[in-house]
Amino acid sequence: MVMPMAHTSPAAAPGAFVAASDVAALAAGAAVFGTGGGGAVHTSQVVAEQALQEHGPVPLVTVDDLGPDDLVMLMSGIGAPTVGIEMLSSRHQIDLLVREAQIAAGRPITTLMAAEIGGSNGVGPVGWAARLGLKLLDADGMGRAFPSAAMVSMNVAELPCDFAILSDVVGNVSVIKTIDLHWLERHARALTVASGSICLGAHYPMTAETARGAVVEGTVSAAIRVGHALLSAADPVQAVAAELNGAILLTGKITDLDRRTEDGFARGSVTIAGTGADRGRLQRLELQNENLVVLEDGEVLVSVPDNVTIIDAETGQAISTEMLRYGQRVAVLAWACDPIWRTPRGLELAGPAAFGYDLDYVPFKEINR
């Protein structure tokens, strides 16, 4: 039975908080939601843990909890991961960003939300919320990681983006107002390059009213649960799959890796040969920053926007596409995307065709093998 995640993940309970002790689980879970991309979580985890230790737990609120005075901003790090590991953010970068966003919005920002729950972008906002004394929305704009700023649920919901703010490591701040998200991406990319290929961004100011139906709800608490399952279960691989209502498509080892760069994106494929009970089976995954399509015997088993993450066959830890190595023992984990991505507009923005694949999208169903 298909159980879309937003329905199986009870949203944050009233009075819910994210504490410093949850950050490791959040990071491990966010890495799984990264579907191969989203950037390494480790440094974000260390900084977020420290922020929560210093400033205390962060209130985790749902869309229902938002009042008329609340204003939500979507937060993200933008840029090249290879630069992101060297030129890290400044201490005041996030303060500048939020201050400028408040000026542009003409009212206080009360709540932060991760643009994408997958990878480091899913971990940073909780630390920023702690430092700024803000709330964190139990939601994100993707329910996973995607390579393009246009691939957000607010865009599916056709919510206009009033403005975007970028701040860089030296303190430059830009307010960007574009006619649509494609122009926003183009301008943000040019500014990011000018800033040394890495920026922090805030965009999509939202109220309780506009956020409803436009965000992927429950994903922060889901990532924390997935992380707890992964870090504490006796069989972490099965525990993670169960927590996501997903399935392990194959357990095996990587026997071929083909990676290249096209149009600024890491593209390639990885071949996994089944071992143990799966011996004799072979799956190929197509990658473009994230894992996009799983093929077996010429048939598509799963495709974007449904979620595919390659996890360590023993520890269940997510392995990002740049960390894949020949010979690794892995399990292929798949689970259903949020229903918003299965709408016609969702598929237009982030279906197989949006990534250049000429195939019909078949919704992933849980498979009990």
Binding site: T43, E86, L88, R91, G196, T255, G327
Partner: protein
């Protein structure tokens, strides 16, 4: 008289091993001695033992190479570490992540005298982040008390090294010409926090490293050897002793690297999977073109995250002393370790081990056979042996990268646990002297160096050329023969989100050591 013998020493936590090999790589002498608290006594005993075995040939020893886990142990035990003043250049960039973030507090407290994040550094395209804060550096040095060394980490210094070099001069001009200054560009590639961690650790290890280098020099001098001395580093290449004293952190993974290379050498294989089966664990690694294959995952040393390229080692809880639970059938991970000669069934002891299981089918210990066992015990042991072999076979398959023809080189006291045929591997080789493979690995090391460059895709060829030249220069500086150094590895990583397609290239060069005998006699 030809002076072409090499003396290899491995200072491990338990044993100090030494070997002498000739120019053809044949082992002429070998010994195993206990490691001593002062390091020197163990090295003295080991070197003295192999030189005695050599007899009249001892003047032919022209090189002494040492590999050790001493630096790792110092970090883990938080012992004898120097205090470091850590400077980072590039503020306000990266100020959200202060130096030593995430270190175990006790270690950070021991090592860090103070830190400063100051103006300087470069962006990925070479643009200065902020002007270099020269006064800030002087002020920080004046305000910081009780430090032995200074570490300098500039943002993107691996791509543009000039600023760190200028700062080193500035620090020496301020503190004195003999001030100990360590630059991140000499320690690692891009990856700011990991490189900074490694640079600070390196600065903290100076005295520990010097104690080992001095121990080696002392013994070599006492023995009257006219030999050049070297240290083995993580990637299986050598550094001059002077270099090792400056960059001790680069020796941290030398133990496993030497073991893998030594075992492969003893077997005669250039490409091989190596398994070292000890009493408690089996360590597996791969040799490609005579070098250990490196892991690309970040490595932690004593709880500190670094980005060293270390040998890709897979450790299993399978060894000769591994305990077999006769009730549940569980194999390990407990081991009787060196108590095997009193504990195991073969020796009349009460504990079933994998050595006993192997005795069902072969004779792992000469002159020993199993006492009469109940049928159920025999079946349990038999199943345990199967389980141990299955886990070893899985590990071999995992490391084989799909090649079924790589020879499997077996060394270590528990080598009998590996059958003569292993699926996923070629011939199983069991070379002699496998018990001193570590020291053999040290004795056959090459000299090498690695350098990184970031460039636009259009200038990729030039970047590879520049990185190659820098790597070759580093290898020669480390002792390689200038006429025989070659580039052995080129890694390219694409950089996205730039206006032009950009790549990072990382080049490694290595070559046999220059013949220093003549120079020393001159």
């Amino acid at each position: 008289m030809s002076r072409d013998l090499s003396l290899g020493v491995d200072v491990g936590g338990t044993n100090t091993d030494a070997v002498v090999i000739d120019a053809d790589g044949q082992v002429l002498a070998s010994t195993k001695q206990p490691t001593s608290e002062d390091v020197t006594t163990g090295i003295r005993a080991a070197i003295s033992a192999v030189l005695t075995q050599l007899g009249d040939a001892r003047p032919q020893v022209s090189r002494v190479m040492l590999g050790t886990t001493h630096a790792t142990n110092a970090i883990v035990a938080r012992r004898d570490l120097d205090r470091v003043a850590a400077i980072r250049l590039g503020a306000p960039a990266a100020t959200e992540y202060p130096p030593l973030l995430g270190w175990p507090p006790a270690l950070a407290q021991k090592v860090l005298a103070g830190s400063a994040m100051l103006g300087g550094g470069h962006m990925v395209d070479g643009t200065p982040i902020t002007p270099l804060d020269r006064d800030g550096i002087r002020r920080f040095l004046d305000q910081t008390e009780d430090f032995d060394a200074v570490s300098v980490t500039g943002i993107f210094s691996p791509s543009g090294p000039e600023q760190e070099l200028e700062v080193a001069d500035l620090i020496r001009a301020h503190l004195g010409a003999d001030a100990r200054v360590f630059l991140s560009q000499d320690i690692g590639p891009t990856g700011l926090l990991e490189r900074e961690n490694a640079t600070v650790l390196n600065a903290a290890l100076y005295s520990v490293a010097r104690s080992v280098t001095e121990a080696l020099v002392t013994v070599v001098t006492e023995e009257g050897l006219e030999a050049a001395t070297f240290f083995a580093q993580n990637d299986g290449t050598l550094m001059s002793l002077d270099h090792a004293a400056l960059y001790p952190v680069l020796t941290i993974g030398s133990g496993p690297a030497n073991s893998i290379r030594g075992a492969a050498h003893l077997s005669g294989a250039e490409h091989a999977i190596v398994v070292d089966v000890g009493g408690t664990t089996s360590d597996l690694g791969v040799v490609v073109n005579g070098f250990p294959r490196e892991s690309t995952l970040p490595r932690e040393i004593g709880g500190v995250r670094t980005n060293f390229r270390m040998p890709d080692i897979l450790s299993l809880g399978i060894g000769g002393g591994t305990i077999v639970d006769l009730v549940t059938g569980a194999v390990g991970p407990g081991s009787v370790g060196h108590r095997i000669t009193t504990e195991a069934l073969l020796f009349g002891g009460p504990t079933a081990t994998l050595t006993d299981a192997a005795a069902l089918k072969s004779t792992p210990v000469e002159g020993r056979s199993l006492p009469d066992l109940p049928g159920s015990t025999g079946r349990m042991l038999s199943a345990a042996l199967e389980e141990a072999r299955r886990r070893l076979e899985d590990a071999v398959e995992r490391l084989s990268l799909g090649r079924a023809d790589l020879p499997l080189v077996v060394v270590g006291g528990g080598g009998f646990l590996v059958p003569d045929q292993v699926p996923g591997a070629g011939p199983v080789l069991r070379p002699g002297n496998g018990d001193v493979a570590n020291a053999v690995g040290a004795a056959i090391s090459l000299a090498g160096g690695r350098a990184d460059q970031i460039s636009s895709l259009d200038e990729r060829e030039a970047a590879i050329q520049a990185a190659s030249e820098a790597a070759v220069a580093k290898a020669i500086h480390a002792g390689a023969d200038p006429l025989q150094v070659t580039v052995v590895d080129i890694l390219e990583t694409p950089v996205t989100y730039t206006d032009r397609p950009t790549v990072k290239v990382s080049v490694k060069a290595a070559g046999p050591l220059a013949r220093l005998g003549e120079r020393m006699n001159a």
